[in-house]
Symmetry: C2
Amino acid sequence: MVSERSLDVLRVIVQDYVASREPVGSKSIVERHAFGVSAATIRNDMALLEEEELITAPHTSSGRIPTDKGYRVFVDQLADLRPLSSAQRQAIETFLGHATDLDEVLVRTVRLLSQLTHQVALVQYPSLGRAHVRHVELVPLSATRLMIVLITDTARVEQRHIDVHGELDAEFLGEVRARLNTALSGLGLADAAGALNAFVSEFHPSRREFVTDIVESVREQVAANRSDKLVMAGAANLALTADDFGGSIFPVLEAIEQQVTLLKLFGEMEPDHHGLSTSIGSENASFGLAEASVLASGYTSSGGEFARLGVLGPTRMDYPNHMAAVRAVARYLSRLLGED
Amino acid sequence: MVSERSLDVLRVIVQDYVASREPVGSKSIVERHAFGVSAATIRNDMALLEEEELITAPHTSSGRIPTDKGYRVFVDQLADLRPLSSAQRQAIETFLGHATDLDEVLVRTVRLLSQLTHQVALVQYPSLGRAHVRHVELVPLSATRLMIVLITDTARVEQRHIDVHGELDAEFLGEVRARLNTALSGLGLADAAGALNAFVSEFHPSRREFVTDIVESVREQVAANRSDKLVMAGAANLALTADDFGGSIFPVLEAIEQQVTLLKLFGEMEPDHHGLSTSIGSENASFGLAEASVLASGYTSSGGEFARLGVLGPTRMDYPNHMAAVRAVARYLSRLLGED
DNA sequence: ATTGGCAGTCCGGAGAGTTGAGTGCCAGCG
DNA sequence: CGCTGGCACTCAACTCTCCGGACTGCCAAT
């Protein structure tokens, strides 16, 4: 059984170690914190914590550092999210205040978050969710090449290029465009996919191959989910905390660049009662990020679309502050995107 | 005066140093290369090269390494671009073979280039150049918010959001959309800007404020130049060559993330007779990249649009191979985008 | 349960000695 | 005049040792 005071000791070990980067000894604990007991007593508590594998000693007779399990207990039980400073709150306001479109909002958000935390910040694009088709445009690029643009009412534009069978005929293309818009305009994306099924048969059989090419591309765009895309900022911060990553930040940089790894990780994270998700150190081992932690929060945009944002950094990071920053930014972003 | 053989010595010093990461001594030169002279003679040549500041000794009595000036001479006079291996050529074909749209072509290109060179690869978006307006779409997002989408015939889609003065009126919006398309469709971007000037006055004065909002946004999009955007890949490679960057890759990562620095650098680079531009080490000092080199080549897309692509890496990089790779990829990309 | 004391452990830095790669110079040779 | 072999010299890097300091673990006393 771990006593109340032992957990207090764990808390200060995490705090001091995060702040100083150095193993924490019993003596420095009694010096810097008013525990009202002697160093020997602290040592007894530390022995308990070590037995529970919450802390460990890098070498015999040196201070202790938290284990991943220790960080986990700290985050779950001991960390009070510190409210942001007023300067930070103001930074959020001014940074996200005037934005022109979704792309820019997300870019600004991710920069803001990386500046607040000095870590790598990540924002996932919201899924298309309950968007409705607003307009479909067909643009011939050459004799056999066609660009198809799908515009929805939730400020998204999807584009795709295809090679069509046969020559492009401007007049007929105009007809297809008009009919396509009539058929799809205003439909939710799910309904649009259904409407496309019946669409091809409206045309003369000799034209069907051509129309099918187009419909298939539109169908893909309707089904495409932009939430498989991330915006990222603050990679340079990794260079500053390089020694926390076992020497090489290569795997981390690679994971960031691949995106797919992080998207999977985002997808598997379960939010706690604060709406925050945390994944610490070895919990990320299967993603090749055993020395990193990820803090994430969901956010919503108009239409109830849901996506995630968060920060990634070394296991030894300032959890209370960063969790507060992630939560605050997520809330602000939800408000900004919701009030459209 | 620097003799012929001295330059040969410089060449092998650069080659060996790049390959081994270690200062090159006179003895290892005669061992590994058939110079037909003794080590003492090589030493005399090295003394000459040192006088010309083409090589330097990290400490008294250790091998020599090239100076930035030495690399410059090597690149300008001594490097033969090695043709790519057939495997590499094939990689280009298969990698860029089937691409759906411009965004994806550029993403694939930059990944390809980073894999070929194991450096950071960069591709600049082509400027809008001689594109023509294809379609303008106005999409109401809320009572006072409007999305404006500009589609050109060169496979670009620009979007922007604005807050309009007053309430959105669907019918009137339709009228503006129709008239805008009539006025602009088919015009070159330069002409479109002119046509917009006369556009507002066609409307009833009470509507002008509203129309002006829209026109101003369209004007911005017409004027917007996408060539101020970069695609990037291979940042993880920096971690592998970290010690070539004086310990910290922070400034390099930051420059990559800021983009603007690199765009300025790209803009100032002058191509040599091969169409390749090189900027070596201290030549980049004003960009905070004094320990990095950039190799770039221009490429063109349909309509004669011009942009750059290249790689960024440590000063001590494999110039002949990387220059060949950059040139090959640039040529292939030009062909791919030109034949649309 | 807590404490002071004490012996033991181990890291890390300082200093000294050694090695080895490599240079600079010089006198001699073709 | 260029090239060569030889030789003395330099200096980084490595190893070894030593010592101080920061801790811990344990124990007997409170």
